[in-house]
């Protein structure tokens, strides 16, 4: 471990991508890492989606400059595809064994980091009657108000949102088609806003209703309140509770491989996992942490109630991702463009 620290410090830099400040408390994670090891962190495009992260590795294969990411944090379904395309390299953190087997690649190419449940994030200054379930979203009072938090052709959060809508619309974990149909309905009703929802756009009123992971919605609620902004309501839908796992990977072309590995070790230490927990994420080593009493009680109390949420398997995720990314344009017919 000491050798790794020395090697990482020799590299002096880490390039991350797609890590917004308020996503699972990454701000604190990055700042703590920086001060602890004295390594500079170059944060690329916090707004990138999972697909964009993989593209960034591809686009910078021959470019060891600051545009090339060292590490990625992508939706579960994106791990195996990145491995198949030879874009990530294997590594097993010290706490590898405490990561559940169904959330990691046996060969060590990718491994789960945290999970959450999809919820509605609502700006109550614009929306007085907060929707409680998926079917509510179709009501005419929400005209021009519902947005996805990403591009459903490349953002994991958006793809899973469409998948989750299937659960509440007559589909199942094996059939994501009704999810696409739901969004087609939403668009035809004029309720769908084809802009990517961000904390800023939610608070500014551009996208007053959006569907995001609980951890994002909750930390955004806190952040907006801290800015003196409008009150944000976070609602886990009554039906169609959908949980999603994200995974870590190290780029096969990482310009700073040792810094990348040290970063992973940091995040998977108890300290790192607790930082994620503070951001309302369920860290992947949650069971282990609870068993060893490593979580402060007040943190535990703040975690949202996600009873009844379903976790799709990798196979189901693959099928759904394939369906949604390829069919979005033709079924729903709106580019989250224009």
């Amino acid at each position: 471990m000491d050798a790794l620290v020395a090697a990482a410090q020799a590299e002096g830099n880490l390039t991350t991508i797609a890590l917004p400040d308020d996503w699972c408390n990454y701000r604190e994670m990055i700042d703590t890492f920086k001060t602890k090891y004295g390594i500079e962190v170059n944060e690329l495009d916090p707004n990138a989606g999972s697909g964009d992260e993989v593209e960034a590795i591809k686009a910078n294969k021959d470019n060891p400059g600051p545009q090339a990411p060292d590490v990625i944090d992508v939706g579960l379904a994106f791990g195996p595809t990145a491995k198949d395309e030879g874009l990530i390299q294997p590594y097993k953190v010290e706490t590898w064994d405490s990561i559940p087997a169904d959330a990691k690649d046996a060969d060590g190419y990718w491994w789960g980091d945290y999970y959450g449940v999809l919820s509605f994030e609502v700006n109550t200054a614009v929306v007085s009657n907060v929707p409680q379930d998926w079917s509510d979203l179709l009501k005419p009072e929400y005209k021009n108000q519902v947005a996805l938090a990403g591009d459903p052709r490349s953002s994991n959060q958006a793809i899973q949102t469409v998948f989750a809508a299937a659960l509440a619309n007559g589909g199942s974990l094996d059939n994501a088609q009704p999810g696409l149909d739901f969004f087609k309905q939403l668009n035809d009703a004029g309720n769908f806003v084809p802009t990517i929802a961000k904390p800023g756009t939610i608070a500014q009123g551009e996208t007053p209703i959006t569907i995001r992971w609980t951890y994002n919605a909750l930390s955004n609620r806190d952040g907006t309140a801290a800015s003196g902004g409008p009150e944000i309501a976070v609602v886990v839908p009554t039906s169609g509770r959908f949980a999603g796992v994200y995974v870590q990977g190290i780029s096969a072309y990482a310009p700073h491989p040792n810094a990348a590995k040290l970063w992973q070790e940091f995040m998977y230490s108890d300290e790192g996992q607790n930082i994620w927990l503070k951001g309302y994420c369920h860290p992947i080593r949650y069971e282990d942490l609870v068993a060893t009493d490593a979580v402060p009680a007040d943190q535990l109390a703040k975690l949202p109630d996600v009873a009844g949420a379903v976790f799709p398997t990798l196979a189901q995720l693959d099928a759904a991702k394939e369906l949604i990314t390829t069919q979005w344009d033709s079924v729903v017919g709106v580019d989250v463009v224009e």
Binding site: N47, A48, E55, K58, K143, I196, G205, E206, P208, V337
Partner: protein, 300 residues
């Protein structure tokens, strides 16, 4: 140039034949050309060459063919052209009227000068704060939106949204209008008052003056500036990116996405798109220059 060199005291003046030297004056321009080569020509050449390359690096015209056949790309060009044309036409029309109103003698200097100064500011507004300002004005919770709501008019429920082509066009007007004012003002000033007086002496009405004297003279300037406005909007990226979250389908945004990652799944196609943009811009600049030269005939 013969130089007279006074020799040592006592001897006559000697004339030295001029020595022919190789001229090294061109060296003075080397830094400039080197810079241009490194940072303009080389990147441009890369794009040009790349646009003719297929997936296996072979020479092909397929990319250009794909430009016109891929629906998504045609849509992007169509949107860009539409937005640019709309903002150019409206910007030119309103800008001309505003410029005329400003220059006419009835307008006191204390209105004219600050307005023109501000036009200079507005025409150079950076894209990001401009988009933000329009969100704060016409967004769902924007000042004007809320004010209208108080008056009972809800523009959003009747289908309007700032985050669309229309919204982008409105935002672009913020820099197109002042640009028009700034460029056309000298042309309006160049209209000699003798012409107006002469036409009135001959019995022409205001309408006749405009129809037969003023507009024909101003037309090249007007058209040229309109084309300039067109090019200005066509190349804009930051405003569109900030307003729509990088999701609107226009050429600059697509090229931007292509830089980040190969969203077109064909690098050559991306380069061809960039070249398409360059060709359109070159066309508009050439048209503008030609029209400017025409207008100079009268407005000296």
């Amino acid at each position: 140039m013969a130089s007279a060199t006074p020799a040592a005291e006592g001897q006559g003046v000697r004339f030295v034949r001029p020595v022919r030297r190789r001229s090294f004056t061109w060296l003075g321009l080397v830094p400039f050309f080197l810079f241009a080569a490194l940072f303009i020509f080389l990147p441009a050449a890369f794009l040009v060459v790349g646009s003719f390359q297929g997936p296996d690096d072979q020479f092909t015209l397929q990319n250009y063919a794909d430009l016109t056949s891929t629906e998504f790309i045609v849509g992007a060009f169509r949107n860009s052209l539409e937005i640019s044309a709309v903002t150019a036409i409206f910007g030119a029309s309103f800008g001309f009227v505003l410029a005329y109103a400003l220059i006419s003698s009835g307008t006191p200097g204390w209105i004219r000068t600050p307005f023109l100064t501000f036009a200079g500011v507005a025409s150079n507004f950076a894209g990001v704060p401009l988009a933000l300002a329009f969100v704060f004005t016409f967004g769902n919770l924007g000042l004007v939106t809320v004010a209208l709501r108080e008056l009972g008019i809800d523009i959003y429920s009747s289908g309007f949204t700032l985050y669309s082509k229309l919204g982008l066009e409105m935002t672009y007007m913020y820099f197109q209008l002042p640009l028009m004012i700034l460029i056309i003002a000298p042309a309006i000033e160049g209209m000699k008052k003798e012409w107006r007086e002469a036409s009135e002496n001959l019995g022409a009405s205001s309408f006749h003056y405009w129809r037969y004297v003023a507009f024909p003279i101003l037309l090249p300037s007007l058209l040229g500036t309109m084309i300039l406005l067109f090019g200005n909007a066509f190349g804009a990226h930051a405003t569109a990116f900030q307003l729509t979250g990088g999701t609107i389908n226009i050429v600059t945004i697509v090229i931007g996405s292509q830089i980040r990652g190969d969203v077109l799944h064909n690098p050559g196609l991306g380069y061809a798109m960039a070249m398409g943009m360059v060709i359109i811009m070159a066309g508009s600049i050439t048209a503008y220059s030609l029209l400017q030269r025409r207008s100079e005939r009268w407005l000296r």
